[in-house]
Amino acid sequence: MDLSTSYLGLRLFNPFMPGASPMADHMDWVKRLEDAGAAAIVLRSLFEEQITREREGMIHHMEITADSFAEAVSYFPRPDDFAFGPDQYLNQVRKLKEAVNLPVIASLNGTTPEGWLEYARQIQEAGADALELNVYFLATNPAESGVVIEKRILEVTRLVKQNVTIPVAVKLSPFLSSLSHFAQQLDLIGADGLVLFNRFYQPDIDVEALEVTPVLHLSDSMELGLRLRWLAILSGHVRASLAVSGGVHTSADVIKSVMAGAHVVQLVSALIAQGPRHIRTLVQELTEWMEKHEYASLEQMQASMSLQRCPDPAAFERANYMKVLQSLKV
C-alpha cells in the first residue's frame, strides 16, 4: 500500500510522526519510534523563556552573591562553557541526525521577535530538516487586541523564515477569531505548513492549599473533532501542508484526519500511553482498512472530506452546530 505523503516539501513514506514532546530526548525511544515505522521525528519545543530566562537565571544566581564579602569573592566555579538548554537542544538535533535516517523537525516556541531567533538559524545549522514554530500564546492582556497578537505571530513567522532556508511549519492555537483568514496570511508570508492545534496546560485548583496547579492531561479522540473541522475548512485554501496534532489515537482517527485534509498526523498521547509500537499497529490497521476499502494510496484519500469536496459542507459550518443542538434530547 502506498502510504507516502508530502509534508513541508519533505517526502515521507507514511503520515505518522511523533509530535513535539520529550520522546525525542531519549535515543532509545527515538530508535524504537524509528523501528516502529515513524516517518519523521519532531523534537520537543525549545521555549523562548528557556533561552532567555535560563541564561539570566544562571547569571543572576552566580553573580548576585559575588564580590560581596571579603572571604568569598565567588561561590561557584567558573566553567568556560555552559551548555544552556539551547546548546543541549542543538546537540540533540545533531545526535538525532546522526542516529536516524528520518527527517528531523525541530520546534521553537516563542512569541516575541527577540534574540532567541538566532536559534532558528542554529537549529538549521545543526541539521534539522524543518522547523516547527510553536506560537503558543495565551492572550490575557485586555489592552492587547487580537489584531496586535496576530500581527506579532505573523512578524515572528516572517523573521524566522528570513533566518532559515529549511521549511517552517506554524503550530497554531484554535483561539483565533478568524482562523481561515489568518492561515491565508501565514500562507502569504511563506509558512510551509500548519499544525492544528496546540494543546495547553490546563490550570487545576488545589482546594486545600488554595493554589493553582497546572496539569497536562493526555489527549483522547474526543479532541479530534475540532481539528477535523479546521482541517476540512483550511484544506485547499492554503498552499501550506497540514498536520493534525492532538486527539489522534486510533486508525479511525488517522483516516478521518487524512480525509479532512491532513498530510501528516502527529502522535504524542497515544504513543506515551501505548508505547512506540503503537505506530506499527496504526500503520497495519490503516493499510488493512485501505485495502479493504480498495484505496490505492493515501493521497487518493487525502482531503476527500474537506469542506470543498465533502458532500455536505454545511455540516462543518454553523448549521452543524444547530443540528447537533436540536438533536439533543432533554
Binding site: 532567555t52 544562571m58 543572576h60 560581596s68 571579603a70 566553567p79 555552559f82 543541549q88 493554589e211
Partner: protein, 1216 residues
C-alpha cells in the same frame, strides 16, 4: 620579546606561575589564599597544561595539615609540588615544613600572609603567620606588589631546585593578594628558561623510588641527631647567593632586576627604613618624593628574609646611614623586638665584629610595628617614621598607624599629608554587595589598563556583614606603574551607588575639592540636592563638587536588568569621569559586555547594551546652589517650582545618629564609630585588653536594608508562629500577653485574642522589626494563612519598608517591652517555643540564611543556660564578627556565652567547656553534701535531686540556687565564698558545639569523632550547607554527588559522607537529621531531645545556602523537596530507646515520593554540571538517585532491627 600585559590580582598572578611549573598541588581553602588553589583547580579542570605539557593534579585535602602531609609525600615521591595557604593553615603545616626543610627538599609554597588569631580572629593581612615559620628552615621570600608576587613565584620555584632549601614565598594578604593591577605576564618560555631541567632531574633522582631505595624519616638518638642536624649548614650558607643568581638570571631574561635587599633613595642617605611586603612600595613612593625634595633618606626592601644574609644587608645600605627604623608587620609580645628588627640589629652588630661594616658611624636602629591585620600603611605614616628618625631621641620601639594612648608607643601622623600626583586618577565607589559594584570596577580597571597605556589598580574593602554588605572600591589610573598600596584618600571621582549610604557613611570625606560626585538617586536633578542630608549638601558646596545623579534602579528596571545596576553605574563613571574619551569608553564597555556575556546569548548582551544606552539618557548634572540647607534657594537655583517652600528650611534633614542615644556607653563610644567606618580613629584605650566584648549589641545597629517588610493581617492569622520560627534574623516575633498591657500601645499596634486554651483570655501579636528585617520573605513564604476570598493575600504580605518604618519601629519597641509569658507555662512545641525570646538576633548572616534559624532556636530553647563553642566559618562570622554581636541577653541578663576557638578543634573546645562545667558542678555538689548541716538538709536535698528536665524544673532550681546563695553570703566562711562562686553550676548548663560541614565532616572530624566517643553531655549542631560556604563554595565531604563546587567543578562523583550513620554506629550517641523547612516539629523535638540526653548528641541540620544558587525565598520549598525526594531523610536515633527495648532509630520522613532529579533541577550547583556536561550529569544523577534510594532503604531496614532485651546488661556506669 613582548609579554602580555594583563590585569589580575595577586593571587591569580602567583597561581599563574605555580600552576605552570608544578605537577601536584595539594590545597585547603583559607582566606585570603583560597583563590590561588581555586585558580589552579579551575585551570586543571579546564585542561590547562603546565610548561612540560601535562595537566597538574590539584587535590583538596581535609585540612592544611592534610595538605602539608600530601605535599610532603608528593615531594618525597619526586613530583614538583606546591601548595597555597595562610594564617592558621600555615600554622597547621609547620610540622611538615620542619620535615620538608630537614630533608632538604626542593619545594616552594605561596602564602598570602594573614594575621594569626590571638585576642580575635582576623582574615586580613600581616606577617604573624609567616613569622611563626622562621624556625622551620624554609627560605622566606617576600614580594610587595602584584608584579613582584608573580615574579617571585617564579624565582622561588627556580631557586629551590638549586638550593634544595624549600621556599616560603609570601605577600601581603588582601593588600597584594586581592589587589587588581596591570602586570607583565611571564610567558611559558620564560618559565621554561628559569626552571633548570637538570635540577628537576636531580630532584626526581633524590625521590623515594623502589628502583633505588633509600630510607628517610629515621628516628635518631642523642648520639646522632645533633650532628646530623648541623649537616645541612652548607646549603643554608649557599642559598642567598643562589637566590641572587636566580634573580640575576631572571633580570637577564625579563628585565626586572631584584636583589636580596633592594635599596632605593638618596645615595648618601642618613635615615633608612627597612621593611618588607607591600609596605615597601608605599615607602618607596614617599622616598622618591622626599629625595626629590633634597632629603637624605633611603629605603631597604627586604626580599630574602631567610636565610638572612648579613653580608648582603650591609652591602646594600649606604655607608652614610646613621639611623635605621625597621618596620615589622607582626607583634611578638614580650620579645625584645619584632623579628626583622632583631635580625637587623644582630646583623649590624655581627658585621661590626666581622669587620665587614663600612658605616661612617654605627647606625642607631629602632623598631616599629605597623599594618597589623591590614591596618592602613600610608606615605604619611612612613613620613612619621622618618620624622621620628630625625628626632633628638627616636623611640626605640614604636607603632605607627594607630593611636596608642595607653603605652604611648605610637608616632603622630599628619592625616592631611598626601603626595599622590595630580596625573593619577583616583576614584572611590560605595556599593552594595549584591549590586555588582565591585565586579563592574574590576571590569573598568581591565578596560582602562588593558586597552590604554595607563596603569591601573584596584582594591576593594568589604564590611563584616554578609547581607546588605557595603563595598568600597578604590581605583587608581595613571601613566606610571602605581606603588600606592593604600586606600584612596583624596579622590577626584566619588560614586555612591546606594542612596541610603549617605545617611550612614561620610561618603564625601573621600572627595577632593573639585571632584565629581555621582549618586544613584531616586530623586531627579531638580530635587536631588534638596533631599540630601545637610552635611552632604555642605560638603558639595564647600568642595565645589560637580554633582551628577541617575536613578539607576529605574533604568535597570526599564531595561530588564532587575536590581543589577553594575553596568549602569559603570557607564556613568566612564561618561563623566573623563578617564577615557566618552565614546571610546562606551565602545569599550560594550566590548567587555560582549566578551562577558557573548557565550550566554545575544539577548543578555542586548539587554546590557540597552542598559548602557538607557544610562546616558538618564544621567543628569545637578545644579548646585550656593548655600546648603535652604530649600527655597534650591528651588530658585534649580528652577523647580515644586520645591519646598521657605518654611521648610528649618526641617532640612541632618544625617541620623549611627546608634540610638539610648544605647549603652560602650556602644556609643566604640561600636558606633566602627559602624560609621571610623574604627581606625579609636585609640588603644577604647578596646578591651583581652578580646572580651559585650553581647547584645546588634540591636543598636539599625541597618534598614529591607526594601519590603512583612505586614501582619491579624484577621486571618492562625497563630502558627511559623513566621517567627523561620526568620533567620529574629526580625519577626510572636508574643502572648495580658490584655491590660495594651494600654498606651501605639495607634498602629496590632493585636488579637489568643486562640487556644493555654493562654485563654490573653492577647497575641506578630510584630516585625522593620529596621532589622532583611526582606528575605521567608516568613511570608511560610505563612499558611490565606485570605479565603483572595488567596493571594496572606496573613503576612510584603510591603515597602520606607513608609512603614517609623510606625513599625515604634510598634516594635512597644512589643519588646511587653512581658514574655512564663517559660514554665509554655508548651515546648513549634508554636510554643516561639514565645521564648530569641537570644540571637539581627545577625549579619545572608538574607534568608538557612543556618541561623537553627541557631536562633537553640538560643530560644536553652539560651539562658547556654555555652556555645563555635567553629570558624559562617556561623562564627555572623556570630562574632565585629562591630556588633547578635548574641544577647534576656531580662535577667542571662544569655548565651559564646566563643570561637579555631576551625579544626571546635568539638574539643566545647568538650573542654563541658569538662569544666561538670567539674565545677561536681565540686558544688560535693560541698553541698559537706555543708548540708549549715545550709539546711532540705535545700541541699532539693538542689541535689532537682529534676531539671523541664522549664519548670529549671526555674525551681534557679530559685533554690538563689536561696543557697543568700544563705552562703550570710555564712562569711571561706567554704561558703568558694561554693557561692560555684553555685550557678547547679543549674544545668547546655553546651552546644556549633559549626558547618567543613568543620564537622573535614577539618574537625577527628576531634568530633573523639568527642562523641567520650560519652560526655555535649550537643553538636552541624549546620550542613554541603559546601564550604564561608570561604566561597569549596567542596567538603558533605558535598553530594552531582554538585559542582570549587575543587569539584565537573560535579562530585563520590557520595556525601553519612556522618549520622557513623555516629549511630557508636550506639551511645543521640543523632538527629533535621530540616526545619520540611518538618519544623521534628527539628524542635530533636533539639529538645539532644539537650535532654545526658550524653553526646549530634544534630545534622539541612541549611539552604546562597552557595546552592537559587532564590532563597524558596528555601523552605526546597527543604521540603529534599525530604520528599529522600535526598535528606529525617530521623532521630535515641540511645535511650534501647533501654526501653525499642529500636533507637525513628524515621521521621516517609519513603521518597519523587525523584531526586526534581530537587536537583532547582539549584545552580547541580545545574552547572548539567550545563557543562549533560552526559556526565545524567550519570551522576543516576548515581545520586541510587545513593538516595539505598540510603533510605538502609535506614528503613535499621528501624526494623530487633533490639536486645532491656533487662540484660544495659546499665551504663557513670563516667569516671
Amino acid at each position: 620579546m613582548t609579554r602580555p600585559r594583563i590585569t589580575i590580582d595577586g593571587n591569580e598572578a602567583v597561581a599563574s606561575v605555580a600552576h605552570r611549573v608544578n605537577e601536584v598541588v595539594a590545597i585547603y581553602p583559607i582566606t585570603p589564599s583560597s583563590n590561588m588553589g581555586e585558580w589552579a583547580d579551575e585551570w586543571s579542570a579546564k585542561g590547562r597544561k603546565n610548561i612540560w605539557g601535562t595537566i597538574p593534579t590539584v587535590t583538596e585535602m581535609q585540612s592544611e595539615a592534610g595538605a602539608a602531609g600530601a605535599v610532603h609525600g608528593a615531594l618525597q615521591a619526586g613530583a614538583l609540588t606546591t601548595t597555597f595557604t595562610a594564617s592558621q593553615g600555615l600554622l597547621l603545616m609547620i610540622p611538615n615544613m620542619f620535615k620538608i626543610a630537614g630533608e632538604l627538599t626542593s619545594f616552594a609554597m605561596h602564602v598570602s600572609a594573614r594575621a594569626v588569631a590571638t585576642h580575635a580572629l582576623s582574615i586580613f593581612g600581616d606577617h604573624s603567620d609567616v613569622m611563626a615559620c622562621r624556625q622551620t628552615g624554609f627560605a622566606m621570600l617576600a614580594s610587595g606588589s602584584v608584579q613582584e608576587a608573580h615574579d617571585f613565584a617564579c624565582i622561588a620555584h627556580a631557586a629551590t631546585l638549586q638550593a634544595r632549601v624549600p621556599f616560603l614565598h609570601f605577600f601581603d594578604g588582601f593588600r597584594t593578594s586581592h589587589e587588581v593591577a596591570k602586570i607583565e605576564q611571564l610567558t611559558d618560555d620564560d618559565l621554561r628558561r628559569m626552571m633548570d631541567e637538570q635540577l628537576i632531574a636531580a630532584h626526581r633522582q633524590r625521590a623515594l623510588n623502589p628502583e633505588h631505595p633509600v630510607l628517610r624519616g629515621t628516628a635518631q638518638n642523642p648520639d646522632a641527631f645533633f650532628q646530623a642536624r648541623e649537616a645541612c649548614n652548607g646549603f643554608y650558607a649557599a642559598a642567598p647567593a643562589i637566590v641572587q643568581e636566580t634573580m640575576n638570571k631572571f633580570a637577564a631574561l625579563v628585565g626586572r632586576q631584584y636583589h636580596l635587599f633592594d635599596y632605593v633613595g638618596h645615595p648618601q642617605a642618613e635615615r633608612v627604613i627597612v621593611v618588607m611586603g607591600s609596605g615597601a612600595d608605599v615607602t618607596h613612593e614617599l622616598v622618591d618624593w622626599m629625595v626629590a625634595r633634597g632629603e637624605r633618606v633611603g629605603l631597604l626592601k627586604v626580599r630574602l628574609y631567610r636565610p638572612f644574609s648579613v653580608a648582603h644587608l650591609i652591602a646594600a645600605l649606604p655607608a652614610t646611614t646613621k639611623r635605621i627604623a625597621v618596620l615589622d608587620r607582626t607583634k611578638e609580645p614580650g620579645a625584645v623586638g619584632e623579628p626583622l628588627y632583631l635580625d637587623v640589629v644582630t646583623a649590624l652588630r655581627e658585621a661590626e665584629i666581622e669587620g665587614i661594616s663600612s658605616f661612617q658611624q654605627m647606625p642607631t636602629v629602632i623598631g616599629g610595628r605597623y599594618g597589623l591585620s591590614s591596618k592602613e600603611y600610608t606615605p604619611a605614616m612612613a613620613r612619621a617614621v622618618y620624622d621620628e628618625l630625625a628626632g633628638a631621641k627616636p623611640k626605640s620601639h614604636f607603632t605607627v598607624g594607630i593611636l596608642d594612648d595607653v603605652t604611648h608607643l605610637s608616632l603622630p601622623v599628619d592625616p592631611e599629608f598626601d603626595i599622590e600626583p595630580d596625573d593619577v586618577v583616583r576614584a572611590v565607589f560605595f556599593g552594595l554587595g549584591a549590586d555588582g559594584t565591585v565586579g563592574a570596577n574590576k571590569n573598568s580597571i581591565k578596560i582602562i589598563a588593558e586597552e590604554t597605556d595607563n596603569y591601573g589598580n584596584g582594591y576593594f574593602v568589604y564590611d563584616s556583614k554578609k547581607s546588605g554588605a557595603v563595598t568600597v572600591s578604590h581605583l587608581r589610573f595613571g601613566p606610571r606603574p602605581l606603588r600606592s598600596s593604600y586606600l584612596v584618600r583624596k579622590a577626584n571621582f566619588v560614586a555612591c551607588h546606594q542612596y541610603v549610604f549617605l545617611d550612614r557613611y561620610d561618603v564625601l570625606e573621600y572627595a577632593q575639592p573639585g571632584a565629581v560626585f555621582l549618586l544613584n538617586s531616586p530623586f531627579g536633578p531638580d530635587q536631588a540636592f534638596a533631599e540630601l542630608p545637610c552635611e552632604v549638601q555642605q560638603q558639595i558646596i564647600e568642595k565645589k563638587l560637580k554633582f551628577y545623579v541617575i536613578d539607576a534602579y529605574q533604568v535597570a528596571k526599564e531595561t530588564g536588568m532587575g536590581t543589577r545596576i553594575n553596568t549602569i553605574m559603570q557607564t556613568c563613571f566612564f561618561a563623566i569621569s573623563g578617564v577615557l574619551p566618552r565614546d571610546e569608553a562606551i565602545a569599550q564597555i560594550k566590548k567587555a559586555i560582549k566578551k562577558t556575556y557573548g557565550k550566554r546569548g545575544e539577548a543578555v548582551v542586548q539587554q546590557n547594551f540597552a542598559a548602557v544606552d538607557g544610562t546616558l539618557a538618564n544621567l543628569h548634572e545637578v545644579k548646585v546652589p550656593a548655600t546648603a540647607g535652604v530649600p527655597a534657594a534650591v528651588a530658585a537655583v534649580a528652577g523647580n517650582p515644586h520645591a519646598a517652600t521657605p518654611g521648610d528650611a528649618a526641617t532640612a534633614r541632618t544625617r541620623p545618629p549611627i546608634v540610638s542615644p539610648e544605647a549603652p556607653d560602650f556602644v556609643q563610644r566604640v561600636t558606633a564609630l566602627m559602624l560609621a567606618n571610623k574604627g581606625d580613629l579609636l585609640p588603644v584605650s577604647a578596646f578591651p585588653v583581652d578580646g572580651t566584648w559585650p553581647t547584645g549589641t546588634a540591636q543598636w545597629e539599625k541597618r534598614n536594608i529591607a526594601l519590603e517588610i512583612p505586614v501582619w493581617d491579624s484577621s486571618i492569622c492562625i497563630q502558627c508562629n511559623k513566621c517567627a520560627l523561620v526568620c533567620p534574623h529574629a526580625a519577626i516575633r510572636a508574643k502572648v500577653y495580658d490584655p491590660k498591657a495594651l494600654a498606651g500601645a501605639p495607634a498602629t499596634f496590632k493585636s488579637m485574642d489568643f486562640k487556644g486554651t493555654e493562654f485563654k483570655g490573653m492577647k497575641y501579636t506578630i510584630q516585625v522589626a522593620p529596621e532589622d528585617c532583611t526582606g528575605c520573605t521567608l516568613c511570608a513564604m511560610v505563612c499558611p494563612a490565606k485570605d479565603k476570598s483572595n488567596p493571594k493575600h496572606k496573613s503576612l504580605d510584603m510591603q515597602p519598608q520606607r513608609p512603614l518604618r517609623e510606625a513599625e519601629a515604634a510598634n516594635y519597641r512597644f512589643f519588646l517591652d511587653l512581658a514574655d509569658p512564663d517559660r514554665a507555662k509554655v508548651r515546648p512545641d513549634v508554636k510554643g517555643v516561639q514565645f521564648f525570646q530569641p537570644l540571637f538576633e539581627y545577625s549579619g548572616a545572608c538574607a534568608a540564611c538557612g543556618e541561623t534559624p537553627y541557631v536562633k532556636l537553640v538560643t530560644q530553647l536553652f539560651g539562658d543556660r547556654l555555652l556555645i563553642a563555635n567553629a570558624t566559618g559562617c556561623s562564627s562570622i555572623y556570630g562574632g564578627n565585629l562591630p556588633t554581636a547578635p548574641y544577647t541577653v534576656n531580662r535577667d541578663g542571662r544569655g548565651p556565652a559564646w566563643s570561637n576557638s579555631l576551625f579544626e578543634d571546635n568539638a574539643e573546645f566545647g568538650f573542654g567547656m563541658r569538662l569544666a562545667i561538670d567539674k565545677q558542678a561536681e565540686q558544688a555538689r560535693e560541698m553541698l553534701v559537706a555543708m548540708a548541716g549549715v545550709i539546711g538538709e532540705q535545700l541541699v536535698d532539693g538542689l541535689l535531686k532537682a529534676d531539671q528536665s523541664s522549664e519548670a524544673g529549671i526555674a525551681a532550681q534557679r530559685e533554690r540556687v538563689a536561696a543557697l546563695k543568700a544563705k552562703l553570703v550570710a555564712l562569711h566562711t571561706p567554704e561558703a565564698a568558694w561554693l557561692h562562686k560555684l553555685a550557678d553550676y547547679l543549674v544545668r548548663k547546655s553546651v552546644w558545639v556549633v559549626g558547618g560541614d567543613g568543620w564537622a565532616y573535614d577539618i574537625g572530624y577527628g576531634g568530633l569523632d573523639h568527642v562523641i566517643a567520650m560519652g560526655r553531655d555535649v550537643n553538636i549542631l552541624v549546620l550542613d550547607t554541603e559546601v564550604y560556604s564561608n570561604t566561597g563554595g569549596q567542596q567538603s565531604k558533605a558535598t553530594p554527588i552531582g554538585a559542582s563546587a570549587k575543587f569539584a567543578m565537573a560535579g562530585k562523583a563520590i557520595p556525601k559522607k553519612d556522618l549520622g550513620l557513623i555516629a549511630m554506629a557508636y550506639g551511645s550517641v543521640y543523632v538527629a537529621h533535621v530540616a526545619f523547612g520540611a518538618k519544623d516539629a521534628q527539628t524542635v523535638k530533636a533539639l529538645l531531645e539532644a539537650d535532654s540526653y545526658h550524653g553526646p548528641s549530634l544534630v545534622i541540620a539541612y541549611s539552604h545556602c546562597i552557595a546552592h544558587g537559587y532564590d532563597l525565598a524558596y528555601g523552605l520549598d526546597q527543604q521540603k523537596l529534599a525530604v520528599d525526594t529522600g535526598y535528606w531523610p529525617l530521623y532521630r536515633f535515641d540511645p535511650r530507646r534501647l533501654d526501653a527495648g525499642e529500636n533507637p532509630l525513628m524515621l521521621d520522613s516517609a519513603a521518597p515520593k519523587a525523584e531526586v532529579a526534581k530537587y536537583m533541577a532547582n539549584e545552580t550547583r547541580f545545574r552547572v554540571v548539567q550545563q557543562q556536561d549533560p552526559d556526565r550529569y545524567r550519570l551522576l544523577l543516576g548515581l545520586e538517585q541510587r545513593e538516595v534510594t539505598a540510603r533510605f532503604s538502609l535506614y528503613e531496614q535499621l528501624t526494623k532491627l530487633s533490639v536486645p532485651n532491656p533487662k540484660s546488661g544495659t546499665e551504663r556506669p557513670a563516667d569516671k
